[in-house]
């Protein structure tokens, strides 16, 4: 046992990495390597059906995007999409959480049922909403006609002025339970004494909400908003299923445009550049989220 002193020490130093190795190797292969390849592709004029002729174009793809009208349309749509989806999901989620935090006899059931939209696949969500928006046989037109709110059926997903809002509604439906659940968990950590004290001080219910509830929820809300912005900004499958980006470019968002360029047009280089521009725009949000979580969780 000559290496009695150094042997165990080396083993000690290497051991964590043996435990980590499988995760690190697979992650490197399926995430890091593809991400680097995307970077490489973005600098080349890479078209799938011309694999042997891949000229280096430098920042050409990015410059091309700046002059591409559809890119700008997609970018504007992305901002509208994120603001509308996340904003409405948040407001509805907050309201739901405040209600679910009250006591009533079927509260447990209500808390379970409300999260159901969260569990469903995007394709099914796209499918059920497309069916509900159907021009002649859709339940939404039927209800609105019966209520006298519209006089003729509306082709919600086929009209440029209603398509984006219609898809937003489907995503709000899918996403508000996430906010409800996160905020409810936050509400449950606020001690009753804080409300009692506020009541003794004569605070109205609005004041209690404004000065007790909201400050206590600040952290949860910030984390949930950041996480959801990232998620909504990246999500394209519900739009893909419901409208495919149309009519025209009315529901094109940046990730969808990048995907369509790469998948349908086979312009991998340009698609990669668009995807990277999305990632760059999200960088600030991701950094904010990671910093918040890392501060709380990583010890």
């Amino acid at each position: 046992m000559m290496t009695a002193a150094t042997g165990p020490r080396i083993r000690e130093a290497v051991r964590p990495f043996l435990f980590l190795a499988p995760a690190l190797v697979i992650t490197a292969a399926v995430i890091i390597l593809p991400a680097v390849q995307t970077l490489w592709m973005s600098l080349h004029d890479y078209v799938l059906f011309r694999p042997d002729d891949v000229p280096f174009v430098g920042l050409g793809n990015f410059i091309k995007a700046l002059g591409d009208e559809v890119f700008w349309l997609s970018l504007v749509n992305s901002f509208v999409w994120i603001a509308a989806c996340v904003g409405l999901q948040f407001l509805l989620g907050l309201g739901t959480a405040l209600l679910l935090n009250q006591s009533f006899w079927w509260r447990g059931l209500a808390r379970a049922l409300v999260i159901i939209p969260w569990a469903l696949p995007s394709v099914i969500i796209g499918l059920m909403w497309t069916w509900m928006y159907d021009l002649n046989l859709g339940v939404i037109n039927d209800v609105l006609l019966r209520a006298g709110l519209i006089s003729t059926p509306v082709a919600w997903l086929a009209r440029p002025d209603t398509a984006l809002a219609s898809v937003v509604l489907a995503l709000v439906w899918q996403g508000f339970p996430f906010f409800a659940v996160m905020i409810l968990a936050g509400l449950q950590t606020i001690p009753d004494e804080h409300y009692e004290a506020a009541e003794i001080d004569g605070a109205t219910r609005w004041q209690q909400f404004r000065f007790v509830t909201l400050p206590a929820l600040k952290g949860v809300i910030a984390t949930a908003l950041l996480l959801r912005i990232i998620w909504v900004a990246n999500s394209l499958d519900v739009i893909l299923v419901m409208t495919g980006g149309g009519p025209g470019f009315a529901t094109h968002t940046l990730p969808l445009y990048a995907f369509l360029k790469a998948y349908s047009a086979m312009e991998f280089g340009y698609g990669a550049a668009l995807a990277l521009m999305l990632a760059a725009l999200l960088l600030v949000v991701v950094a904010g989220y990671v910093r918040r979580i890392a501060k709380e969780e990583v010890r």
Partner: protein
């Protein structure tokens, strides 16, 4: 008197609004199920009828008997179970290392696992498609499982690390005193105690993989098509056959709804732990 007034007030201010919200949350789902049991004659007739005049399982029979949907369900099951197996097998030891060992770069690495989970999917799928084609893994279950590993591994490393962190270090120390190696400690002492966390993480991976569309669509062809991809293709093929489509949607949605409801409490605890602390 006051009792009754406050009960009425609660009904109007809390129970009625929450009832409206629950109705909003469930209505599209219920509408899908109702559509799937209506005969075609009722589905194509305007003005629409709300409740089925004569409920039927015809659409389910056609779907499972005359289309490839049964096979698609099996493919989704294989892919989801494979993703759970791969995800847990590699992330449980990794999470154990993050939780129990102190080594240079530990915090940095752990944060990277969180960060890579935020990389836009659209940034990864094209190179993954090229990579899988080179490896001959296109249109195989393994290829899709590897695609799904992109979200399963970072997520479960993160979840499992926080579950392991909740178990006291003294357990490991006692096991080491008794002469157990680190691997033995993990397998015999820590794993049984972390089982609820592992099951929750596993079910969440299963649901996410079962629900996933983009990777499955890019990486699969004729032979290993999953249900989400098949349904999306059906939407193009059978534009007007909403009975079939909603029957398929119902078959896909019900298992994940049940799984989600089973784990929801613990999952919510795990997902929100980081956000609620502070």
């Amino acid at each position: 008197m006051i009792e009754r007034r406050s009960a009425l007030r609660r009904l109007i201010e809390v129970e009625l609004p929450i009832l409206v919200i629950i109705a909003f949350a469930l209505a599209p789902y219920l509408w899908m199920i109702l559509t799937s049991i209506k005969p075609d004659a009722e589905l194509t007739r305007a003005p629409i009828t709300y409740l089925p005049g004569a409920a039927t399982l015809d659409h389910y029979r056609t779907l499972l008997g005359r289309t490839s949907f049964g096979g698609n369900l099996v493919n989704s099951l294989i892919v989801a179970l494979g993703t759970v197996a791969l995800g847990l097998a590699v992330s449980v030891p990794a999470a154990y290392a993050f939780s129990r060992f102190r080594f240079p770069g530990r915090k940095w690495l752990l944060v990277q696992f969180l960060t890579i989970n935020m990389i836009p999917v659209v940034l990864l799928i094209i190179p993954l498609f090229v990579l899988m084609r080179k490896l001959g893994l296109l249109d195989t279950h393994a290829g899709i499982v590897l695609g799904h590993a992109t979200f399963a591994i970072p997520f479960s490393v993160w979840m499992m690390t926080s579950y392991f962190n909740a178990l006291p270090m003294e357990l490991d120390e006692a096991a080491t005193m008794d002469g157990a190696s680190r691997m033995e400690t993990l397998l015999k002492v820590i794993l049984p105690l972390a089982l609820p966390g592992i099951v929750t993480t596993g079910i969440y991976i299963f649901v996410t993989s079962w629900n996933e569309y983009l990777f499955a669509m890019m990486l699969s062809g004729q032979s290993v098509r999953t249900v989400t991809v098949a349904l999306q293709l059906f939407i193009g093929e059978f534009t007007v056959q909403w009975g079939l489509l909603t029957a398929g949607g119902t078959l896909v949605a019900i298992p994940v709804t049940i799984l989600f409801l089973v784990v929801q409490k613990r999952l919510v605890g795990g997902l929100t732990a980081g956000a609620v602390k502070s």
